[in-house]
């Protein structure tokens, strides 16, 4: 359940990343045809697994989910920046 929650949220974050307007502008990519409403749906969907785990009173799973998604989101944002030295 926890692993599924993490992967689902990461999938939503990846969708948000792919169509992020500022990221696309900064990389010179054409604007994505993704309405704001859809982005909000993805955002709520990304948070849903955490809410479900919290409602099940699974504090450990909530923290592992939150931390995994924080790391995953950071790693997702690194995609397509290879070639630049991070430090």
């Amino acid at each position: 359940m926890q692993i599924a929650a993490i992967f689902f949220t990461l999938a939503m974050l990846t969708l948000l990343w792919w169509n992020d307007p500022k990221r696309r502008r900064a990389e010179g990519a054409p604007a994505a045809a993704q309405p704001l409403t859809l982005r909000r749906v993805y955002l709520i969907a990304a948070l849903l697994p955490g809410a479900v785990l919290a409602l099940r009173s699974d504090a450990a799973a909530v923290f592992v989910w939150l931390g995994s998604c924080a790391i995953g989101g950071w790693l997702v944002s690194q995609i397509r920046t290879s070639g630049s030295d991070p430090l």
Binding site: R23, S57, A59, A60, A61, I71, S77
Partner: protein, 527 residues
């Protein structure tokens, strides 16, 4: 995200920048060693080279306890700490509590280490600080933890220093949140082909945004731990008990309802551990025997949290009869808000509430926070690079510490592995750390260009990462087959992690394109 007036924004930027540049390098040292210390127990298993098949708590303990009690002065039977140490050995600390001249409550007694055959391999008398020093087998993990907790500065100054660094991190996290107007809009934006200021700013803010909640949690819990014993307990004890810290300890711990000092054999620990295991599904992580040899003896077993919870479990038993009495909070006799808040500080800081899964997440977040700290320092320097050329020394210092500290930790591991068979790891682990640090500092002074300094450090780190598993094997450590047969997959896992990290770093270096960041740098207001 939060719209502050311009003046306040400028002030927050100044506070964020200056707290970072003044304390950032020390904070980086604390966070890096903390990140590594998350896996201190696993690093201990990996580095000590022993492959104990059974936990010490799976073996009978009562005979050892009785034999050691017979040779220990009765004054030290007030309490006995029982815990597992390297290679499945058992540590037993018979002690009493007394007030030091400063008023602080200290533990004084006799510490024994007992091997799987029941033989005493080490005996030491003194107070807690003295007897729990590093041994040959755990010198590396001990060194990591001591660096993180107090930067090897003597108590209480080291704890106060790390406590202040925790508050600085708290300030940086909150001020960073307040000054970043488009926190979520910028969360995926990492510009590559932009000025050095924007490139570093993006790296810093993206990593900082993603790790912000945990930066707050770790800063807050870290400063709690640092200030708890040094400042907090003395002050609250002064207010509530006229300065009597023993009275504070007594108030927060569970005492017997009716003291009964009649002699009674305390020979039930084996039975108690078995019962605790049956109730919780796991062996204890720590056992405390209080009032050993008395009719009112109490045995408390400390367990990992139940699945789904982050609060550790504490089971209380009658030491004379072995009967289970209750499951109690770590603090206080009944569940309470204060007890729960205090009890969750440790799992939230150590990340040890869900086994390897939570530790891995906390390790990753620690890495993100190291990255945030270093990119923040780089950002501060890059903004001022052209207008203040004399800051070149600071840029080098950031690189020397940023890369030199991981390098020195790796040389400490090399020193440990080479010295363990010789029995001198306690000396050579910190010595190797200092040697690695010195090499890094000399390189920082001697190498002609900053780019070369970075390259040399990265090659050295990559080489050591790849070499450590080989050094471990060459110095007598178990091979992968032996480790797996002894049910110690962590030895293999850490070897693989080191090899993959080394390969990744070296490949990145070989294929990295140096970006030509020649865009003009302009100062921002109030920075």
């Amino acid at each position: 995200m939060i719209r502050l007036p311009r003046q306040e924004t400028k002030l927050m930027v100044a506070i964020h920048g200056w707290s970072g540049i003044v304390l950032g390098l020390l904070l980086y040292a604390v966070v890096l060693t903390g990140m590594t210390a998350v896996f201190a127990k696993e690093i201990n298993t990996w580095s000590s080279g022993h492959v104990a098949q059974k936990s010490a708590f799976e073996r009978p303990i009562d005979d050892s306890l009785q034999a050691l009690a017979a040779r220990t002065p009765a004054e030290f039977h007030e309490a006995v700490d029982v815990f597992e140490i390297a290679d499945g050995n058992l540590g037993l600390f018979f002690h009493l509590h007394e007030a030091a001249p400063s008023g602080e409550v200290i533990e004084r007694g006799v510490y024994y280490e007992v091997d799987s055959a029941g033989d005493v391999v080490r005996e030491k008398r003194g107070i807690g600080e003295e007897v729990f020093g590093p041994s040959n087998d755990d010198a590396l993990s001990h060194f990591l933890i001591d660096t993180h907790v107090q930067l090897h500065v003597p108590e209480p100054w080291g704890l106060l220093l790390t406590g202040i660094l925790g508050l600085a991190m708290l300030v940086a996290a909150v001020s960073g949140l307040l000054i970043h107007r488009h926190l979520f809009k910028d969360i995926f934006t990492l510009r590559r082909k932009a000025s050095p200021v924007l490139v570093n700013r993006d790296r810093h803010s993206v990593a900082g945004t993603w790790s912000l909640p945990f930066a707050f949690i770790l800063a807050f819990t870290g400063s709690f731990f640092s200030f708890y014993g040094t400042v907090g307990v003395p002050i609250v004890a002064m207010a509530a008990f006229g300065g009597d810290e023993q009275a504070f300890d007594d108030a927060v711990s569970v005492k017997p309802e009716k003291p009964d000092s009649r002699p009674h054999l305390t020979g039930t620990v084996n039975q108690i551990i078995a019962d605790a295991r049956a109730r919780t599904g796991a062996l204890p992580t720590f056992v405390l025997v209080e009032r050993f040899g008395r009719a009112d003896a109490q045995v408390t077993t400390y367990q990992d949290p139940e699945p789904g919870s982050i609060e550790p479990l504490t089971l209380v038993y009658n030491g004379a009869t072995g009967a289970y009495e209750r499951t109690t909070p770590s603090i206080g006799a009944k569940p309470s808000l204060g007890g729960t808040l205090t009890a969750i500080m440790e799992p939230l800081h150590f990340g040890n509430f869900a086994g390897v899964a939570s530790k891995a997440v906390w390790y990753g977040l620690g890495f993100a926070m190291c990255y945030v700290t270093l990119t923040g320092l780089r950002l501060w320097l890059v903004r001022r690079r052209e207008s203040i050329p004399t800051l070149a020394w600071l840029e080098r210092a950031v690189t020397v510490i940023g890369f030199g500290l991981p390098l020195a930790l790796l040389t400490a591991a090399v020193g440990f592995l080479c010295a363990v068979p010789l029995g001198s790891a306690v000396v050579w682990t910190p010595a190797a750390f200092l040697i690695g640090s010195a090499i890094s500092i000399v390189a920082g002074v001697a190498l002609p260009t900053h780019a070369l300094l970075v390259t040399v450090h990265k090659f050295a780190i990559g080489g050591l990462l790849l070499g450590l598993p080989l050094i471990r094997l060459a110095t007598g450590g178990p091979g992968w087959t032996s480790a797996l047969m002894a049910r110690q997959p962590m030895i293999v896992a850490i070897d693989i992690a080191l090899i993959l990290s080394g390969v990744w770093l070296l490949i990145r270096m070989i294929t990295a394109q140096r970006s030509d960041n020649t865009a003009p740098v302009s100062l921002q207001p109030a920075e």
